[in-house]
């Protein structure tokens, strides 16, 4: 196979684009996909301050590097979850990466805030991944708002988006189906959230990360059951193999046709938001769910101690 741009031997074959690219031309393809996403979805401009959520996985690091190379004003934010061994490794990886490329990084420590994730696991009966995700989103948003950032960017790729959309569709979860997408507009107390990698598959991001020397192996979270969306991703891998391009089409058609219909349905029932009595984050209750979880853990701990 030859590179579609320069006819040199290809290093990456992309069936969904009927093309192959050599190692010099592939990053140009990747850059173009990110540029198109940002421009068509009006994600942000060169005047905006962009906060990038960095987990330490290949996707978020690839996103951070690519936005930096394109000349955007980016700051990384890593949340140290306080999980023994695992969190130190992830944090080190993010810190080394930002050092190497001269990128600005902020680190927020769950332990210093008073709620390391192992405490959640020990004292909250709900699935730890759901609570952890909620905590992370809360702090990403809060820090973006407090820091005066215009937008929060995450490394979600096409496979993440399709797996989530598929899960929401299987449940016909109207609330989620009404606002899933590559851009979540700013609202009272919420910063705009964007996913500039949504046009790129996991495979495409993995190739880019490898070429850019981003070490793509990352340890899965020790608390994750491994089940989350992995089955859906495998199913979609097969569908994509049988008809290349299907994944992107499914997602694009949802954005064009499905989402507006669900949004219209949801409009009637939306809850009104007010600042949380404790932390000031927008919530539909008196105290936000994150503050309630924090209080519940505090009580449970006190009971255990006393």
């Amino acid at each position: 196979m030859k590179c579609i741009r320069c006819k040199a031997p290809a290093h990456v074959a992309l069936p969904s684009h009927h093309s192959g690219f050599c190692k010099d031309c592939y990053p140009l393809f990747f850059t173009k996909q990110v540029e198109t996403a940002i421009r068509r979805e009006k994600m942000f401009t060169f005047d905006d301050r962009v906060l990038v959520a960095l987990s330490g996985g290949k996707d978020s690091l690839a996103l951070m590097l690519e936005l930096h190379l394109q000349g955007y004003d980016v700051t990384g934010l890593h949340i140290d979850l306080g999980i023994p061994d695992s969190s130190e490794k992830a944090r080190k990886k993010v810190e080394n990466f930002c050092d190497l490329h001269g990128l600005t990084l902020e680190v927020f420590e769950m332990a210093k805030w008073g709620l390391p994730i192992p405490d959640v696991k020990a004292h909250v009966k709900r699935p730890v991944c759901a609570v952890c995700g909620k905590m992370k989103r809360h702090h990403f948003n809060r820090i973006a708002v407090e820091g005066g950032f215009d937008v929060l960017a995450t490394g979600h790729n096409l496979d993440d988006e399709v797996a989530r959309l598929f899960a929401n569709t299987l449940r016909w979860d109207t609330a989620y189906l009404s606002d899933q997408g590559p851009v979540l507009p700013a609202a009272e107390g919420f910063v705009r959230k964007v996913k500039p990698l949504f046009r790129l598959s996991e495979f495409e991001t993995a190739n880019y990360a490898f070429m850019k020397g981003i070490e793509i192996h990352s340890d899965p979270c020790p608390y994750a059951s491994g089940a989350s969306f992995t089955g859906h991703k495998e199913l979609w891998g097969e569908l994509e193999h049988r008809s290349p391009g299907q994944k992107f089409q499914f997602y694009q058609s949802f954005l064009k046709t499905g989402k507006p219909a669900f949004a219209a349905m949801e409009k009637e029932t939306g809850a009104t938001l007010a600042p949380c009595a404790e932390c000031g984050s927008p919530t539909s209750a008196e105290t936000c769910s994150v503050c309630r979880i924090k209080a519940a853990v505090r009580e449970s701990k006190a009971k255990d101690a006393g």
Partner: protein, 65 residues
Amino acid sequence: MITVKLEPDGKVIEMSDTRSVHAVLNKLQLRSTMAIVVRDGELLTPDRMLKNGDALMVRKVTSAG
């Protein structure tokens, strides 16, 4: 003989009579867009031919979560 190191698990497998990257992926029951294949630090497309003694790294791309 081709030596294949599987990532992220780190398992090493030896394959004989395997002439192409495509054949390696087939034996591993992987579709071409589910893993990247590297030889001597370079990515390979599925149509690339292999020779006896080649050492490959095959890394699955699906991230958890």
